[in-house]
Amino acid sequence: MTLEEMKEYEFLDDDFKFAHNENEHLIDRSYSSTSYLKDVLANFMKNKGAIFGVVVVVLIIILAIIGPYLNDHTYKSILIEQASLPPRVPLLEKLGVFDGIRNGVNLYVERGFSDLYYWFGSDTQGRDIFTRVWEGTRVSLIIAFTAVIIDIMIGMVYGLISGYFGGKIDIFMQRFAEILNGIPQLVIVTLLGLVLPPGIVSIIFALMITGWIGMSRISRAQVLKLKEHEYILASKTLGARDFAIIFKDILPNIFGQIIIMSMFSIPNAIFMEAYLSFVGLGVPAPLASLGSLINEGYKSITVMPHIITSSIVVLALLMLSFNLFADGLRDAFDPKMKQV
């Protein structure tokens, strides 16, 4: 079509029609009425993996609380003559799973315990694995949560102060963190495990001593970004004191990030605890943690795989769910934020 032709072209009524008729309605639906948190929640609910994660985490936490009381055993009661029995569950045994059979022999019947049911089997000393797994999950969760909460506290304050004041304070604090960070976590945790008396508190302490560094980095980075903003300047001009600015103006703005980071830290803490157990520096016997249970079961994995299976499954599920949950949370809070 030449220019001449175009000039002569006549438009008809049906040459154009509305392309976005429906979309205009959408624009009308204003976001101003939904709060930030509702928005986050809506985003989060769309993520199937994250929902799965939450459900499993909640289920596991509930079981960790009530699980140890669902039968008559305690985590340390030993019935030595009932040692090393494979899992057996009423009803399910009729389906050919969890039937107490190993190598074609029903060990319950063979050893004269036809009426007994160990849902996850019994360990090499005749303790109920079901009870121990949930007891262990509880201990692991307590260790992980406590360690992470302390990490947040220390890391956040450290990062905030370091980032906000800058200058010599920042350089000194960063150098210190860098040096501490220069020692591989496993090495420092192992050595601390050796120096400190065995126990949950020591493990938490050992995990904490390097765990806060990541947290402090994030909060420092955020502070560096935020402190140039006008609203901080406004606060300062109005005479707000430094700590008031840090805790009232900056802290609330980085909270989302901290929460996300801590959700990623929890599985890491569980993992480190498991490693400590492997070097023999885990929770003191007969207390159980997921790490120590795996470590115990691992010693007979080739001959009695059932002892390790349940704790591995719980650990894997727990970590999987926490990761999915954290992923979902991150996407919901800030779809643009990258993995830290």
Binding site: I80, A83, P198, I301, T302
Partner: protein, 542 residues
């Protein structure tokens, strides 16, 4: 898309192969026809210096390539080795003189093994500068002046050992020690060639080349953290008795991995631990043994908050030791009857010590409950928490947990706090008296009850046990006039054990260590000793 996938796969293959090609070519192919026994060890070889070595693996290795005056045969009876024969002279003051006549044996550098090699070796052993952890053993045999030399009060030259000529060695003991000849088969007493030793400087015994051999095998290779191997020594003076071409030790920390390798046929000898014992119990290769190690609960008597003989007796009575042996350890361990283990020593009557000595340990829950009530009155408490220290090995942990469960189920109000520590730390804590109950063990140094009873002398134990009657009884039996009368001595040792266990209940014996092994059916003639070093010297292969 396809191209990309291909690219990545190619890169992957490439990466694997570059990894491959960077390796040294597998040069030393194993000679399939060589008769070599492959042995798994769960502890790395610590030292080949027989004055420095302290652990079983090192002693087995040393024992394979160096020999001493005597050796133990398969049933543990003393046989001549480097010493062809010996004379014994008893003096009136109780001192005893042994004169050994040496056989014609050679070191691997061609030098003859002479009496001077023994004199030099023993002087080095006693010299404080050597700082040998096993030098106490030279005092145990009551070698003349040994204590003074070890303490640095006399020069090593004053030791009661001398070379009458190149082939004759004279040893003077203060007492007629009846286990002396057996100890001569122990590596700490093996000879050492002075000239060679001095030529090596501080490198002595750090590699196969820095070591001299006079035994059935010579060390061929030693890769720290991995393996060490021996080949037959053609110059060994009894080389015709050795039926295999070599020994190959692999250091494998994890028993399950070792068993996978055993089942693949690459190993002939694996020590089983934990649940694997139960799993292989019916296998034709399964071998059970009894070791001299006795595990017991050491009670810190110095800690007044638990110092009650009734408490100790209650704890002792409540533990079902047979169950520990049969259900937890399952490796041939047996319940302890006393503090002196079985198959340790044979008395003047020709019977095992434990056969004639009474059983001092039993299980009786009702009596234990009554004693616990009495103990509460003694200590003035209603409830008590007691700490049990143990080392972080699988077996110790299981036994400690079982003891805790036994005590807490049966003795109401008595709770046990378990404290797990690595072995070295546990020993340190116990040495400092920083414990209440400690699960510990003792391995015999020589075939006599004395090796156990000495432990609880007031100046030897860290548990604060101090009973003058006990001290007097043991010392009279071992160093007093009674020591010269074998039968009276034997009875007195039993009396000492009775005081220790029945009267004072100062220690709580638990079990005597067994051991479960997997030995390939093609291997015969491994000699397992409950006292002394296991030997692979006379192994034959089908």
């Amino acid at each position: 898309m396809k191209n990309l996938r291909l690219l990545v796969i190619m890169a992957l293959v490439l990466a694997l192969f570059t990894g491959c090609s960077s390796n040294a070519p597998s040069g030393d192919e194993v000679d399939e026809t060589a008769k070599v026994v492959n042995i798994a060890t769960d502890i790395d070889l610590s030292s080949m210096d027989h004055h420095i070595a302290t652990d079983g693996t090192s002693f087995i290795a040393i024992n394979s390539c160096i020999v001493g005056l005597t050796e133990l045969d398969a049933s543990g009876v003393v046989q001549p080795e480097l010493a062809e024969s010996w004379d014994v002279a008893y003096n009136d003051d109780g001192s005893t003189v042994y004169t050994f006549h040496l056989a014609d044996a050679k070191w691997s550098n061609g030098e003859m093994v002479t009496a001077d090699d023994f004199v030099f070796a023993w002087r080095r052993l006693a010299d404080p500068a050597t700082a040998s952890q096993y030098n106490f053993i030279i005092e145990t045999i009551t070698l003349k002046n040994a204590s003074a030399v070890v303490a640095g009060e006399l020069p090593p030259e004053e030791l009661g050992v001398r070379a009458l000529d190149a082939k004759t060695l004279e040893v003077t003991l203060d007492l007629p020690v009846n286990f002396f000849l057996g100890l001569m088969a122990f590596p700490t007493f093996f000879p050492l060639n002075q000239e060679f030793f001095e030529a090596q400087g501080d490198q002595y015994a750090l590699s196969p080349a820095n070591l001299l051999y006079n035994g059935p095998f010579v060390m061929e290779e030693w890769v720290s953290g991995n393996s060490f191997s021996f080949v037959k020594n053609p110059d060994y003076f009894k080389a015709e008795d050795i039926m295999i071409d070599g020994l190959n030790f692999r250091f494998i920390n994890d028993t399950q991995s070792a068993m996978l390798e055993f089942e693949s046929g690459n190993l002939d000898y694996v020590r089983l631990t934990g649940e694997l014992v139960g799993a292989y119990k019916d296998d034709p290769s399964f071998v059970e043994r009894l070791q001299g190690y006795l595990w017991y609960l050491s009670v810190n008597v110095a800690d007044e908050s638990i110092d009650s003989v009734n408490l100790r007796k209650a704890i002792s009575l409540v533990i079902d030791r047979d169950s520990i042996a049969a259900n937890i350890l399952k490796d041939g361990s047996i319940a302890a009857d006393g503090i002196v283990p079985k198959q340790l020593a044979v008395g003047p009557d020709g019977k095992d010590y434990r056969e004639s000595a009474p059983t001092f340990v039993s299980t009786d829950v009702e009596q234990a409950k009554a004693l616990w009530e009495a103990a509460k009155v003694d200590l003035g408490v209603d409830t008590l928490e007691i700490e049990l220290l143990f080392e972080d090995t699988e077996a110790s942990k299981a036994v400690a947990e079982f003891i805790q469960s036994e005590i807490e189920t049966n003795l109401e109000g008595l709770t046990v706090a378990l404290k797990s520590q690595p072995k070295k730390s546990r020993l340190e804590l116990m040495r400092n008296g920083d414990y209440q109950l400690g699960l510990t063990r003792w391995g015999p140094d020589y075939a006599d009850p004395q090796t156990y009873l000495d432990l609880f002398l007031s100046f030897n134990n860290n548990a604060g046990y101090d009973n003058p009657v006990y001290d007097q009884t043991v010392l009279e039996a071992t160093t007093g006039v009674t020591a010269r009368d074998a039968e009276a001595r034997w009875e007195m040792l039993k009396e000492a054990e009775r005081i220790l266990l029945e009267n004072d209940c100062a220690v709580i014996p638990i079990y005597q260590n067994g051991g479960a092994l997997m030995v390939s059916t093609r291997v015969q003639g491994i000699e397992l000793h409950s006292v002394g070093i296991d030997s692979f010297k006379r192994v034959t292969l089908d």
